[in-house]
């Protein structure tokens, strides 16, 4: 049996009645909206804007009390009570509606403020985020990582060799990590580029790793190579601040950096143009570390590199 013809007739007739105005879509929407008044709010479904609108809608109190009843006398009685008490219901309804508006107005202001912030963040991400990330990526791919000789590596290892406790190595090469480990230091490496495999390694962002470490739990941190030399001032300061925070009093922060004058004389065009930062001079290191609370600093130039060792107070 095929009833699809009947279904078509019903759909066509309903559409005709809607088009003629006999059936009002407002009635259907009104029924949906009425049910929504009793349904729980959900941000995921409607967004904050929709949730606020639902509060506004619920705050509008209708004084049209239903008077339908299965028996006509009851319906008439309900209608009479409704009319007799309409002034009272109207008075209460106005106050509730006013309360609702007073509640939703600051919510709307907060929502608008949040939207403005989101738009601003998106704008900043569009303008600066991808651009700086792209430039750094190009530079990282194009510029060969500096190969410091054995001397700076040996100096760095010696600076950490007396450490008794956990030492974090950031930005070191695999050979440098092995040299530190061979000197008997209990060290592990954070390597965001998956370059190191012969040591205990965490493959994640150095700053993200440092941020989750508790205060004063490391006896030393080594920051090395282009992770330090080519990072922006903001990123480098954040990295130093977090490293100092994690080092216990009496511990050491060691930085292995290219000597700036030599770096500038040998830097290629891509590095000079695209890298967000360049190596700092010894005076800069001293000033920054003093600012971060270093008790004393030893800065030595070894084989074209600066080895900066700071005692943390």
């Amino acid at each position: 049996m095929d009833f699809s013809g009947i279904v078509d007739e019903i759909i066509t007739e309903a559409q005709r009645r809607r088009d003629s105005g006999e059936y009002s879509l407002d009635t259907l929407e009104h029924l949906d909206a009425e049910f929504d008044r009793f349904a729980p709010l959900t941000y995921r479904r409607t967004g904050i804007d929709g949730a606020i609108r639902a509060v506004e809608s619920a705050a509008f109190i209708s004084v049209e009390v239903p008077t339908a009843a299965s028996r006509r006398p009851f319906a008439l009685l309900k209608e009479a009570i409704k009319r007799a008490t309409a002034w009272y219901h109207l008075h209460i309804a106005r106050q509730v509606t006013t309360l609702g508006i007073q509640i939703t107005r600051p919510l709307r202001m907060l929502h608008e403020s949040q939207q403005a912030l989101e738009a601003r963040i998106a704008e900043l991400e569009t303008v600066s985020g991808p651009t700086s990330t792209m430039a750094a990526t190009i530079a990282h791919k194009t510029v060969p990582r500096p190969t410091l000789g054995e001397e700076p590596t040996r100096a760095m290892s010696e600076a950490m060799s007396s450490a008794e406790g956990r030492v974090l190595l950031v930005g070191v090469s695999e050979d440098q990590a092995i040299a530190v480990l061979d000197s008997g230091v209990n060290a592990y490496v954070v390597d965001p580029f998956d370059d190191i495999h012969r040591a205990e390694v965490r493959h994640e962002s150095p700053i993200a790793h440092l941020r989750v470490i508790a205060d004063d739990v490391l006896v030393g941190v080594v920051l090395a190579n282009d992770l330090v030399d080519s990072s922006s001032v903001v990123d480098r300061m954040s990295l130093l601040r977090e490293a100092v925070r994690c080092i216990a009093p009496g511990g050491r922060l060691t930085v292995l950096s290219a000597e700036p004058i030599r770096w500038r004389s040998t830097a290629d065009a891509v590095s000079s143009d695209l890298l967000p930062g360049t190596p700092w001079a010894p005076e800069t290191w001293r000033a920054v570390l003093d600012h971060l609370g270093s008790r004393s600093e030893t800065i030595t130039e070894v084989g074209g590199a600066l080895v900066v060792v700071a005692s943390i107070a």
Binding site: L28, L31, R37, F38, A39
Partner: protein
């Protein structure tokens, strides 16, 4: 005898999955298999039939798992060494329920995740409907088949129930009070039907409340629309009482957004009720061409369809005949034969 362990998250006496599982258990025993039934949650009436899930032996016997929600029963299925049969009853999409219950989302997400993982380790997948089968086919399940829910459409018996001539139109829907079954939209349909066609029409909703917030919202909505005298919600009915509702109703109306099979559609057709239903998920496949299958559930269209059937006695009679024929297709004899074939082909005959 071949040992077969059948298990599921919850075994209840009055739901489609529970009844189907019990029928399959009887079939396995009738076929001569050494069948055992386990569940994570067992209704007190069925304590003597099933054992706790934790008692499933760690052996290489065949297992049949009924998947309808995420949980430990699924983990048990995954941990079996081999010989797995999955019965997929479908999982309600989270979008339809998350608004109403904060905790159901995790079980649904887990259930969907588990379903993806079972594709590679399942020997046979039996789906209640082609709609369910389509879902598992998309997940690269191999060896899938459709066998309707095992139940006897004529199992419900009732004392003779009659209504006086000229009684108002009486609409019926049977199913858990749940957002995916959209009973609130049936209330809206009734409001329009009463306004335009039959001021005394009634709606009877039979089913237990499974979402407290949804049940409360429906009650408030009914009260708000002034329909408290016209909408009747019945919970915890016996089979006889349910059968009486089928006998007394004029029409069965379904506007569910999600059904994996919808047993009440077949029960309604078996009891001679014309069916008006919204064509969603498995509803069209179960109803076939035996009722008015609407492409929309706009309340005015559904109300028009109900009014048409209520006023056109010839149409109603043809729908009743078509419905009875359709329900015969789902008879227990037919579904047991289909299951017997599937079991013999996969497990083999009982040894």
């Amino acid at each position: 005898m071949t040992v077969v362990h059948q298990f599921l998250p919850t075994l209840s006496p009055r739901d489609a999955v529970g009844n189907s599982t019990l029928e399959l258990h009887r079939l396995l025993l009738d076929m001569g298999h050494d069948a055992h039934l386990y569940a994570a949650n067992i209704h007190h009436e069925l304590m003597s039939v099933a054992r706790p899930l934790t008692e499933i032996p760690d052996d290489d016997a065949w297992c049949i798992y009924h998947h309808s929600i995420g949980g430990v029963a699924g983990d048990m299925y995954e941990s079996r060494a081999a010989n797995r049969i999955l019965v997929y009853h479908n999982i309600t999409p989270i979008e339809l329920l998350e608004r109403w219950s904060a905790d159901v989302g995790a079980e649904i997400t887990l259930g969907r995740d588990q379903l993806k993982r079972y594709a590679a380790l399942t020997d046979l997948t039996v789906c209640d409907s082609d709609f369910n089968r389509h879902e598992v086919d998309l997940l690269d399940y191999r060896n899938t088949t459709t066998i309707p829910v095992l139940f006897e459409p004529g199992r419900l018996r009732h004392a003779s129930a009659t209504r006086p001539r000229g009684s108002p139109t009486r609409l019926l829907f049977v199913g858990r009070l749940a957002p995916n079954k959209a009973q609130h939209e049936l209330v809206a349909v009734l409001a329009i039907l009463r306004e335009r066609y039959d001021a005394d029409a009634e709606l009877h909703l039979v089913g237990s409340a499974t979402f407290g917030s949804y049940s409360s919202a429906i009650s408030d909505y009914i009260e708000h629309l002034g329909l408290a005298d016209a909408v009747h919600i019945h919970e915890g009915l016996s089979d006889e009482e349910l059968a009486s509702h089928y006998a007394l109703a004029d029409l069965f109306v379904c506007v569910s957004d999600h059904e994996g099979f919808c047993v009440p559609l077949i029960e309604a057709m078996h009891h001679g009720l014309p069916v008006v239903a919204f064509d969603s998920t498995a509803v069209g496949g179960t109803l076939g061409d035996a009722g008015l299958l609407l492409p929309t559930k706009a309340a005015d269209v559904v109300a028009d369809a109900i009014a048409r059937v209520a006023s056109d006695h010839d149409l109603a009679a043809r729908m009743r005949d078509a419905g009875r024929t359709r329900s015969d297709h789902f008879s227990l004899t037919n579904t047991r034969a289909a299951w017997s074939g599937a079991i013999e082909n996969t497990i083999g005959p009982a040894r």
